[in-house]
Every structure is written in C-alpha cells, then in structure tokens.
C-alpha cells in the first residue's frame, strides 16, 4: 500500500518515528496474560474473542495506542516489541530464561554496547534477544544450538526481528566440537545440560589478553559441582554462585470502616427495612438476597473487594462488612452521615431530605504475594577468565611439573 519508505524495525532499538508500519512486529496487549505478537500486513485481521482488528487500522498509529475492535466490543494496546516483551510472547521450543536471570546475568557479565559474547544453546532465543539489544549496534553474539529445527526457527526470528547483523547462529554440538572461536569474546553463557564439557573450548574463545566472564545456568547442584571442577581445572578464578528470583506483588485496597460507621450503616439498613414493610420479616427475603448474590458475580466481588482488578470505581463502591447484601450495599453507598452519629433518629430522617453523601471508609493499600509464586529456577554460576587463565590446564601443569623439576619464574 504505502509507497513511501518504511523505517525498518529492530528489536534492538526503537523506531525513530515510533509509528506502526507495514511489516512491523507489534505486540497485541489484551492483558498481562493475554499478549501475542503479529506482523502487520495490509488486508489481514487479528482475531480474538473480543473482536477483530484490521491490520490496516493499526498502520500509521503511534506505538502504545489503544485500539478499539471494529465491533466496538473490546480494545487492546499496540506495543513495541522489546526483548522483554518477546520473552513473554515467544513460541516456546524449549525451557527459556526469564527476566530475573536474564537481567542478573547481563549485569554480572557486564554486557554493554560493543562487546562480543557466546551463548549456547540458543533454545527459544529468549536470552538472545536481550543480549543482542545490549551489545548493539557494534557488538556481536555468537549463538550455538545443535538442534537443526531450533536453529532454523531462531534464524528466521532473528531475521524478522532485525537482529541478523548482530547474531551469528551456528548449528553445532559445542560439547563435542567446541565453539571453533579463538580469542574472540568477552563473555560466555552456557545453558546446556553438560556445561562442563564446553568449558575448555570456551576458555580458548575468550580474548586472551583481557578479563572476561563466564556464566553457566544449571538447575541441579550436581551439574554445579562438575562445572566448578572443570572451571577450576581450566584456571578460571573467582567462582561465585547466585540464585535470583523476582516476587511479583498483588496490590489490594482494603477499605477499613470504623466500628461506628459500620453500626451507623447497619442502623440505616434496619430503618429502611422497617419502611419497606411487608417483605422485611419474611424468611425468604434472606433467600432472595442470597440468590441474587450468587447469581451475579460482581456483588461478591464488591463486598470482598478484589482490588487487584483495576476497575476504578470499584474500590469506592466496595467494602461493607461482609454480612451485608446487595440491597444494603447500595443503600450504604448512598447513606448520609458526614460524621457518624450513633443512634440518632434525626440524622437518618434528615438524610432523606438532604443531598446524600457517601460514607467513604479509610482505604489501606496492602500487598500480597500471589498464592503460587514460582520458586527456585536454576543456579547461576560465574567465573572469571584472566590473562593468567590462559595456558595449560591444571592437570597439564601438574603433569609437566612432575616431569621436570618445577621452577616458576615470577611473571612480570
């Protein structure tokens, strides 16, 4: 459609015009758990259960725009695909790394623009995207994966995400055949079942005359042991191990009534019951309200206050003592009383005449950790390559020392 030049998108940076164009990847944000990624193509639709969205309607919009579906029944947000979002929407071909580990590893390895790095295996490319972004524009990622289909899929993604220039992807068994890189990189990251088998080759890949850092990612402590031995054997130093987790808090607004306010409301309710005469005393009134309660979910909600649902008028409407039923609820919302006066008939009757004012409880904001927090993921083990690390491994040295009588000249 558009004849004008389109600014090519890359996940490693933003577009200058910040505008959605044909061929762009765009994250469709419906909710935190309902996100997907599309490539914009004139004539196509994005369909979901809240309606459909014409790609052509997106073209020309600024990233971040809220877009209504063409039935007007829902909306979504059009987000720019960052490496962080990619981790949340990517198709899983393997287990992947998430932000807690990704960010800590990048910081510890001191990744920054211009650096070169090895990563293996590529897996689903979750980490690769973050690395590429951080090394860009002049750095380079060498990514290794021995599973041919995963290589093909990742290669296609790197191309479609404008990362091809930053990433070299090789299909290779790095444990058996090594990285085939010498004196090339500043950092190495191994997410492999047997990282210790790749340590010797990794050592050669480091730039030999400067400091470098390696990290291995392993779920089991047994793997850690074997890797420590391999790293020590190869002369890496400063071996450290970390575990890192992120706790995501749920935020709730809990309304807190004073007991006086609660009683005031109760009184108002009783008064109303009396006025509403015939229904009041009958037992089935109770049943009635109960039915109402169970049939419409939101009543329940407003009583218990599920404040993590960010419905702006919810918190104010919410929250009466949990014994109250809906009709009472509504009543309480409109009950007067500027200052709660205990047991005064006059207040209640005055309220009939005067404009009604809400009783607003004091709101307390609290956090809760969601019931199901994911626990431990993996151990991150770090070690440092130093210019003194180069040279023979420990066993080689010992063998040599045994052969000749050792004499080590002080290095300058």
């Amino acid at each position: 459609m558009s004849e004008t030049a389109v600014e090519k998108q890359s996940f490693a940076t933003y577009k200058k015009n910040n505008t959605i164009e044909e061929g762009d990847n765009v994250v469709m944000y419906l909710s935190k758990e309902n996100m997907s990624i599309i490539r914009v193509k004139d004539g196509e639709y994005f369909n979901c259960k809240f309606g459909n969205y014409k790609h052509s309607d997106m073209i020309g919009l600024e990233y971040g725009t809220k877009l209504g579906s063409n039935t007007g029944r829902g909306f979504l947000f059009l987000l720019y695909p960052t490496p962080e979002l990619w981790t949340l929407v990517l198709p899983h071909r393997t287990q992947i790394l998430y932000i807690a580990d990704i960010s800590f590893v990048m910081n510890y390895l001191n990744l920054k623009p211009g650096m070169s790095m090895i990563e293996s295996g590529t897996g689903s490319g979750s980490f690769s995207h973050s690395i590429a972004r951080t090394l860009a524009p002049h750095g380079h990622l060498y990514s290794f994966e021995y599973h041919q289909e995963r290589v093909n899929a990742a290669k296609k993604e790197f191309e479609e995400h404008g990362l091809s220039d930053l990433v070299t992807l090789r299909c290779r068994d790095v444990c058996k055949d090594g990285f085939d890189l010498e004196n090339k990189v500043d950092a190495v990251f191994l997410d492999l079942p047997a990282p210790w088998e790749a340590v010797a080759s990794a050592k050669k890949a480091f730039k030999q005359n400067k400091v470098g850092k390696i990290c291995t990612f392993s779920p089991c402590i047994e793997q850690i042991s074997r890797t420590v031995t391999a790293l020590t054997e190869q002369g890496f130093v400063d071996i450290q191990m970390y575990e890192c987790l992120i706790r995501f808090n749920e935020i709730r607004v809990i309304p807190m009534w004073t007991i006086d306010e609660a009683m005031e409301k109760q009184r108002a309710v009783e008064k109303k019951r009396k006025r509403a005469a015939p229904r009041v005393v009958r037992d089935d009134n109770n049943n009635n309200t109960q039915d109402e309660e169970s049939s419409s979910g939101h009543i329940n909600k407003s009583i218990k206050v599920e404040p993590s649902v960010d419905d702006s008028n919810l918190s104010s409407a919410a929250a009466t003592p949990s014994s109250t039923t809906e009709s009472e609820m509504e009543d309480s919302v409109s009950t007067t009383v500027s200052t709660p006066v205990i047991g005064s008939e006059t207040t209640a009757s005055a309220s009939e005449a005067e404009p009604r004012e809400r009783i607003e409880p004091k709101n307390v904001v609290v956090t809760r950790l969601p019931a199901e927090q994911r626990g431990h993921t993996s151990y991150l083990m770090f070690a440092t390559f130093t210019p003194a690390t180069q040279g023979p491994s420990l066993t080689e040295t010992k063998a040599a020392a045994a052969a000749a009588s050792s004499s080590s000249a002080p290095a300058k």
Binding site: S31, K32, G68, F77, P113, N209, G235, V309, R374, A388
Partner: protein, 481 residues
Amino acid sequence: MAALNPTDIINAGEHVFIKMPSDNVKCIVLKAGSSVSLGKFGTFKANDIIGHAWGNSYEIYDRDSKTRVYHPEGISEVEETANNNREIVDDPTSQKLTLDDIKALKSEGLKGELTGEEIVNKLKESHTTFDKKTAYSQAKYLQKKGKKFHKVFTPIKPTAYSVNEYFYVKNPSKIRDIRMDTLSQLLSYSNVHSGCKLLVVDDTQGMIVSALAERMGGKGTILGLYDGDNPHYDIVKYMNFNQETLDTIKVLSWLRIHRPADEKTPDEMQDVTQLTGKDLEGYHRRLKAYNIVEESRKVLFEGNFDALIVASQYQPESILEKLLPYVAGSRPVIVYHGTKEALLETSTWMRKCPDLLAPQLTESWLRKSQVLPGRTHPEMSTWGTGGSLLTATKVIDQPVQAALTKRERLAMEKKNAEAKKLKRAREEAESATSSPAPVTAAAAVGDVADEAVEGVEEGTTAATMTDGDHESRSIKRAKQE
C-alpha cells in the same frame, strides 16, 4: 591477540577497587608513581599494575613491595578421609606456636622474607591436631589462615555491578539500598540501549544514572532532573567513564524547567561588544551555563523519551504527573524505592492513570552460595532489602468507539463468562500435563488477569468518557491521596 581497548587496561588516575585477602574491598585513585598501602597486607607500587590488563591478581613478595602476577593453584576437591570431629576438643594449646612466634612470623611476612603460603604452612605444621581434622575443616582452616596471611590483592575494574556491590556492602543508604539484582531488573525493564533517550530522577547518588550510561556506551541522552544546588551524582566518578559517555549525561534543575519570566539571557544583561578582561570572561562563563540549561530544556521539551526512571525521595506520583507527558508511547515507566511500602499508594495511583498500562510491583530475592569443589552451600549471611520496583508502560489512551447497548453488553458478558470458564478448564488441563508455567505469567495471575475479559465492560465505560474525564478523575484521585 585481540586489540585492547583503553577500558581493558588499568590506567593512571582511575578509580580502582582493590580486593584484599580478607575479601575486604578498598577503593583508591591510582596515582602514577605512588605506593599504595594495604595495611597489614603490605604495600604495592601503582606503576606495577598501571598499563596492565584488568583481571589479574598480584602477590606482594618481598620487602621492596615487589609484586608478581598470582594465579591460584586451583581449589582442589576435598578428599574424604576417615577423620571426624570426635577427637577434636577445643584446646588453645593445639597451636604450638606462641602468640609472639606468630607475631614474629607476621613481621617477617611484612618484610617480605616469608610468603603468605609459607606462613600458613608453618602454622599448619605446628598445629598438633591438624591431621585429625576432617578434610573439610582442614580446608576451612587453610582458607581462613590464607585470608589472614596471603598478600595477594586483586584490582577490580569499576563497572555498574562492582560499584553497586561495593556501595551496597559498604554504605547501602548512600545508594538508597538498591541492590545488584534490583538494578539489573531496572536496566532490563528500562530497555536501555545504545542511542536511547532517557528521563531520570535519580536520588541514588547517580548509581542508576551510572548503570544506564554504561549500557548506552556513549550514544544517546540521559536527562537527569535534580533539586538543590547541584545534581548529586557522586557515583558517576567511580565509573572511569570517558568523555563521550560523560557527555551523554545532561542535567536540569527542577527550578529551571521553565524559564522564569524575568530571566534574561546573558546578551540581554550585557552588551558583549562593551566587555573586556574579567567582565568578558564572566560573560562567557554565564553564557556557557545559560546554554547548558537551554540545551537541557530543549531536550526535555522535545519529549519522546524512551523511558522514565524515578528513584526519588519525593512522592513519585507528583513526579510522574509532571513528566509522563514527555514520554513516548509504548515506553517503560519505572519507579524505584528502597521500601515497597512507599510505592503502594503510587501503584494504586498508577492503576487509575489512563496513560499507564499494567503497573507491576516487584521485589527481588538474591542468594549467594559458596562454591568449592565438593563444598557448595549457601552463604551464612544473606542480604536484607534490595529495594523495590514499580514498572508500567506508557500508553496513549483514546476513547474507543461504539458503545454497546445494554442487551449487547449482557449477551457479551455471558459469552465472556463462558469463554473464561472454558479457558480456565483448558489451562487447568494444560498445566496438569505440561511443564511448569513461566515465572512471569504465573506471577501475574490474578492481577490483571481478568482485564481482557472485562475489557468489554471497561471499553464501554471508556467509550462514553472523554480523555478529560479520565484525567480529572485521576488527578482528583491523586490529590485525595
């Protein structure tokens, strides 16, 4: 050999962290030709390490403070022996050397007549029950003594990580308790990269600005807003940034954001053609200062920032309200605070702010373990608080068209409820069979989970409401709080 960058080498005049055998870290400015004293561990000559690559450890080995590269022999696997602790009793006499003997050894060590290893060996030999110790406690003994007598030090290159760790351990309140893992997450959430444009309010003495600048590698702009007379970015100086990187950091005082009506340009104040000598110098000084402020204002008012990052002692909402308009669409907004509680009100405020999507309040947990072959265990002391992050995405709110009739809406709600049930059932079936769900997804459960399903309802509300309504509502709300 790969060509070395200046940043790969220890240069004179730079800040250097010196890690000592005790694991304490000392920060020095490395002056060419100077001697650096490490207290009881001895003294070394700055020139011995200047010009060398980072990363090596050095041993001070004689009385002239000579140093040589030290590479540890590698920590060997602990070999199990039949020993156990049964026969070991607490006995001060098990060490046959007297306190004076040890003092003598120490001073010989200081003079450089004995190496650390030799001292430790002497101690070991005169320890009567050493052989009876378990292999584990032997190793521990040697390690402990090694820390005391080895004269090995390691110059550590200041990086966002090492500087952060240094201050987090030494003086966490200086950097408002931001810990390495929290800072890492801030960097990831901010999507900082070469060439981006960031708006920052940093009261962590510049810890955050430093980390961001490092990730930008000299390309792009950080605009830091500050209060008081000067920006307090003390941490920046520890980073050994080159000029190119320093130039990416711009600052602007909150008081100077808007040009006061009575502010005059230096040219309005003085006629430059009439000035000479001191007056002319003064004029140029003022002009320079004026231009810096003007430039920063321009950067701010051009807007389109790629992230807004706030780590302030002031109420975050009051800052967000002012600065959000300058942030581009689909960009991260991040608030850091040392305590989670301080961010609670802000998160409810954010939730009501139509320009922000999906606020999320997180804390990080970090554990370090000792790893030695066969001796891996968590470290005794774990860290306290590391701060808390509140993150959201700037969006462009606009009314969505076509409100539904009540009937349509009810029908839709019913349909949604069913779809929701189905989805739950499907998810349950899925989670029963598949591998663990991703951390992030699981963590978000329940939070905005229902947003999409309720999107219908919200959509309708939004449709009937103008932007103005939204705004006044959120502002009113903000004022109440």
